[in-house]
């Protein structure tokens, strides 16, 4: 299971004077599914675009293993970029010819009831996303890169989208990297959670163990300063503390009511923590 598929080393990237990526490194294993979260402008989309070869980092290297030739990388950008003056049919034919796809699978297209002679630019955002996904699925990608698009799709198509992705993960043992900050639908998919801030990964945990390492304490009174936390906030009736890293020792020492949290909240805590930090600076 631990077969390295991508190795990203020390990516640096500036746009103007702004550091977008700052010594970003990451390894991805085959078949792994990863979610990258982070604030807006934290560099996660840029990072994904680097993996997709759409942006070249100023420094650093991205090495794909030999079994991932360029045509086995599938990328759905947040821009939903396609040749939108093409009709659906022409778009499929072009994609198939570029990626040497011999028999294109129209199942998804048919399920969506897309008109083949319709221009791509006239598709709705959701249809366009699923159309793009169906193009990429036909590539049988080893790596699937999905930028923040899930939230633009309606619930019905979102389900279809997820089913297609899950299907691919099982069928091709594909590695999936998703950049996202809405999690309710997908929270059970990623095995690994990354949080990015200022071009660096500040969290990289298996989702299996993340729940054990991060707990929430809700209390009216302030809790001891010695309890490590990444984020806290005061609401009108109580305070919320996100304790990280948590272990059972801590519970013995400070017997608060440590509650489990959902991924959504965990991410929120991490992202929120960064805002607080920024405020303090």
């Amino acid at each position: 299971m631990t077969e390295k598929i991508v190795e990203v080393e020390n990516l640096k990237l500036n746009i103007g004077r702004k550091k977008i990526l700052d010594n970003t490194s990451l390894e991805l294993q085959k078949g792994e599914s990863v979610v990258i979260a982070g604030r807006n402008g934290s560099g996660k989309t840029t990072f994904l675009k680097c993996l997709a070869n759409v942006i070249f980092p100023d420094q650093g290297s991205i090495k794909f293993s030999e079994e991932v030739p360029p045509e086995k990388i599938g990328y759905i950008s947040d821009q939903l970029s396609l040749f939108e003056n093409y009709t659906v049919k022409k778009g499929i034919d072009f994609h198939a010819s570029v990626f040497h796809i011999e028999d294109f699978d129209y199942t998804l297209i048919k399920e969506l009831k897309l008109d083949l002679n319709q221009k791509i630019k006239n598709l709705s955002a959701g249809e366009r996303t699923l159309f793009h996904l169906s193009l990429i699925l036909a590539q049988e990608p080893e790596i699937l890169l999905i930028d923040e698009i899930i939230h633009v799709i309606d619930p019905y198509l979102r389900e279809k989208f997820l089913e297609a992705v899950i299907d691919l993960m099982d069928r091709c043992q594909a590695t999936v990297v998703m950049v996202n900050h809405t999690f309710s639908e997908i929270e059970k998919i990623p095995e690994r959670v990354l949080v990015m801030e200022k071009g660096q990964f500040i969290l990289d945990e298996k989702s299996e163990t993340l729940g054990e390492k991060l707990k929430k304490v809700v209390s009216e009174a302030e809790i001891s300063d010695e309890v490590p936390r990444i984020f806290q906030r005061e609401l009108s009736y109580f305070r919320e503390y996100f304790v990280y890293p948590f272990n059972e020792e801590l519970r013995k020492k400070f017997p608060y009511d440590y509650k489990n949290t959902r991924l959504n909240e965990i991410i929120k805590a991490f992202v929120g923590g960064q805002y607080v930090k920024k405020g303090n600076q």
Partner: protein, 607 residues
């Protein structure tokens, strides 16, 4: 992918063709200029349309992707950036070529007279604009910005090319006017120079292209500013490098000429390099004289001096006579005329007097003077010539000189309406009309040789007038002469002179015996005659096919081969020069001299 690009370009071709074909038709209909043919309206428009087409083909490399938000998708396809460029450039180059061929066909089919730009300048502009706009195509998404910057770059590019050429001419101390590089556009320069200038031009275009390719290797969807910054980073050093290379190529091509060699009567070798002075080689020494002059084509040579007509740097008129003393190595200006006047290229020396014809260069062509320069005092006497006789004639070129009853006179011949007018000018300014000759006359052994349609007329002076003494039938049309480069030819006595006419393959020579006045035809000869002294002459045959030059001597009615020189005769750097003292032969950088009469090689140790 290639198919997509071909399809895209095809669509653009169809659109452009339709526009180009229909626009003039539309114009004709709306203006109802019925007397103008479609083609005469079409062609100039077509030419300008093509210039735009070159720009459009270059700069539209990514416009379709930009136009349909497909850039990111394009870049995520499994092609390297270089492959992408390849896919995009190939069909566009073909499209550009197709229209160039179309232009070429139409240009030859009557477009030449209608063309707004000459063929070469159009070709040059067309392709360089294509390559420039291609190189800039990724720099902006805005078509107008691309258009302006491409045009701007094109202008800068042309300017840079002239700067390169200007710098090279400065460095080589070549007066800039000598290399009117505009000739490059009209194609009037020699292919060697044009080739190198073209090379320099291409090299100067490389910085844009190479930095495009290098910076496009990492082209991405970041703002164009990032790409342009990288582009400039590549561009600057490449530009400096290419500028130097370009100047190097230009300097290889730009030259007034190679070193020229001349072998004098006293067997000294003069090496002239334009505008840097001369070197005089002797057996084991060399003397260098610096200055802005050369002695590559002496107008006159005698035992003491070599004379050369030199020109004025700024006015480009040949109005100076310089003189080289080959024994004490001095160069001096013997005569300097007004800059608006020009010296006819034949000088004649009699006693201490150099004589030549001088005329105005512009407008008053009939303002002609015979100029006499005393060598010792450098005193100048000018005798204005009555112009009516010379009106609309060619420059009077032939002068012979002599003395009759203590009075000196000069003979001048001018060609006009296929006839040669012969004038005699006396020292005191009198002008005497000697008559006409069908062919260029000549004066030898105090005899004037002139021609009627059928005969050769030999005239001699009697009581101060030329009188015909002989009439020799000359139905074959031979033209006799003595050679002209030697000073004081009139002091020499010839037993015989040669005449020639065109033969089927080789010239046909005849001998005119000056004692019994008989013409003896030699028949077809190999080569052209070269006089050494009155009774010593050689035939020099240049054979471009066999790549050799053969030197024959004529003895006992036979041409005997003296020496064969084998070399590439068409190569410009190789040169075979018969001089007064012998033959100078240059092959590549090797220079050898062979002295008359037996063509023995003379060694110059310092050469």
């Amino acid at each position: 992918m290639l198919k997509k690009e071909i399809n895209d370009v095809l669509k653009q071709i169809v659109f452009f063709t339709a526009a180009v074909l229909l626009l003039p038709a539309f114009l004709i209909i709306t203006t109802i200029i019925s007397d103008q043919s479609y083609f005469s309206v079409f062609f100039p428009m077509f030419q300008f349309g093509l210039i735009f087409w070159a720009f459009f083909m270059g700069s539209s490399l990514f416009s379709l992707e930009h136009g349909q938000r497909g850039m990111e998708y394009l870049l995520s396809l499994p092609y390297s950036r270089l492959q992408l460029i390849g896919f995009k450039i190939v069909p566009r180059i073909i499209a550009v070529m197709i229209f160039f061929v179309a232009f070429w066909i139409l240009y030859n089919a009557g477009g030449e007279d209608l063309a707004a730009l000459s063929f070469i300048s159009f070709t040059f502009t067309y392709f360089s604009l294509f390559l420039i706009s291609l190189s800039l195509s990724a720099s902006s998404q805005n078509f107008l910005v691309l258009f302006v910057s491409s045009l701007f770059s094109l202008i800068i590019y042309f300017e840079l090319l002239s700067v390169v050429i200007f710098l090279v001419t400065r460095m080589k101390r070549i007066p800039y006017y000598r290399l009117n590089y505009r000739y490059f556009f009209t194609g009037e320069l020699d292919p060697y120079l044009t080739g190198f200038i073209l090379l320099a031009a291409i090299v100067l275009l490389l910085p844009l292209l190479v930095s495009f390719i290098l910076s496009f290797k990492k082209f991405d969807i970041r703002p164009a500013k990032v790409y342009n910054k990288r582009y400039l980073k590549f561009f600057t050093p490449i530009f400096i490098f290419c500028f130097i290379i370009s100047a190097f190529f230009a300097s290889q091509g730009i030259h007034i000429g190679y070193k020229q060699y001349y072998l004098t009567l006293d067997l000294k070798l003069i090496e002239s390099h334009p505008y840097s002075g001369i070197k005089i080689y002797e057996h084991n020494k060399v003397h260098k004289i610096k200055g802005d002059f050369d002695f590559s084509w002496p107008s006159l040579v005698d035992n003491e001096y070599v004379y050369q007509i030199a020109h004025n740097k700024t006015t480009r008129s040949y109005n100076k006579i310089i003189r080289l003393n080959t024994s004490d190595y001095t160069v001096e200006v013997l005569y300097k005329g007004l800059s608006e006047r020009s010296i006819g290229w034949r000088l004649q020396k009699y006693d201490q007097t150099i004589a030549f014809v001088e005329r105005k260069r512009k407008k008053d062509f009939h303002d002609i003077q015979l100029v006499l320069v005393d060598e010792a005092s450098k005193e100048v006497t000018r005798i204005p010539l009555e112009y009516k006789l010379l009106e609309k004639s060619y420059f009077p070129i032939s002068i012979w000189t002599n003395k009759t009853e203590g009075k000196r006179f000069w003979l001048i011949s001018t060609e006009k309406n296929w006839k040669n007018q012969i004038l005699r000018i006396w020292e005191d300014g009198r002008i005497e009309d000697i008559g006409e000759s069908q062919k260029a006359p000549c004066y030898v052994n105090r005899m004037l040789i002139s021609y009627t349609e059928e005969d050769v007329i030999i005239s001699m002076e009697k009581e101060g007038r030329f009188e015909a003494i002989r009439k020799i039938p000359n139905s074959q049309g031979f033209k006799f002469g003595t050679g002209y480069w030697r000073a004081n030819l009139n002091d020499l006595t010839f037993k015989e002179i040669f005449g020639w006419r065109r033969g089927p393959t080789h010239p046909i020579y005849a001998k005119l015996n000056l004692e019994n006045f008989e013409i003896e035809e030699i028949g077809e000869t190999k080569g052209h005659l070269h006089y050494f002294s009155p009774d010593e002459y050689y035939f020099i045959e240049i054979d471009h096919v066999a790549s050799e030059v053969k030197v024959y001597e004529y003895k006992e009615r036979k041409q005997n081969l003296l020496k064969t020189f084998s070399f590439n005769t068409t190569e410009k750097r190789n040169r075979f020069r018969p001089c007064i003292g012998g033959i100078v032969f240059r092959e590549g950088k090797k220079v050898r001299a062979y002295a008359f009469p037996d063509l023995k090689e003379i060694k110059f140790k310092k050469l």
